[in-house]
Symmetry: C2
Subunit: 149 residues, 2 copies
């Protein structure tokens, strides 16, 4: 079990369970036969940027990070820089072709980042099709995406 896998598992655990303390995360991981200590979990939390949130009821809980626009932009830039093939538009459509396997991650980020502009977005393994709400929105979206290239 590598660190990266554990990180993924931790994210899943946080979605399901109410983790209030790092020790609880340690236990939850142990139940899945992953032996780590509080020290490691503390580092994981830092790396994953998990946040400690005062719970609505009582106590505290660990929660997934809220990505800022800047962080999403950074991610998008990296992803697109690495996987870009072509970008095109027509009417209210924008298409982005990527290297195989990369469309999904990029589409997810674009979806979050451009909710305002997007009417719908869908992708297969290496293509993203975006449908914008208006032609102006298509223009904005296309120009913004060009910046990432």
């Amino acid at each position: 079990m590598k660190k990266e896998e554990r990180h993924q598992l931790i994210i899943q655990l946080l979605e399901k369970e109410n983790i209030q303390k790092q020790e609880e995360l340690v236990k939850a991981l142990q139940e899945r036969d992953i032996a780590v200590t509080q020290a490691t979990v503390s580092r994981d939390i830092k790396e994953l940027k998990l946040i400690k949130v005062p719970a609505t009821g009582d106590g505290y809980r660990y929660s997934l990070p809220v990505e800022s626009d800047e962080e999403m932009n950074e991610k998008l830039t990296k992803l697109i820089k690495n996987a870009f093939v072509s970008l095109d538009h027509m009417d209210k459509f924008v298409t982005l072709k990527t290297l195989p396997g990369n469309a999904s991650a990029i589409a997810n980020l674009i979806d979050k980042r451009f909710t305002k502009e997007l009417f719908a977005i869908l992708n297969d393994d290496d293509n993203i099709l975006m449908i914008t709400k208006t032609t102006q929105a298509r223009e904005r979206l296309f120009q913004e995406l060009q910046k990432y290239i």
Copy 2:
């Protein structure tokens, strides 16, 4: 200086300064001639639901809360329960009539909560007009809003 005032000040401080530890908040408050201890700041943080965020660079910082869906739902429920007049729909439109002065706050929350469904939302003092992306989305939105009543 009452607690409520201090809370407001803390929120302002967090927006401006990079507060990494509760002790720093204590110091920042002392500089403004407000004498409190770490214990009090800890309670303030819990009450304000401030979160401890692993910083992008190094270390940690305290930050303003992120509202969860549940919290938005709670707020919406309260607001709508208190100010509801009528709810109606037609084609891709949904209208919500409220008591005078209440439309804006409710519209803002609906906008955040139903981004997926909404194409546009606008309000005056006591009316909200929602335009959904599709008829199915209108159906979903209308049914969800009915639950808040």
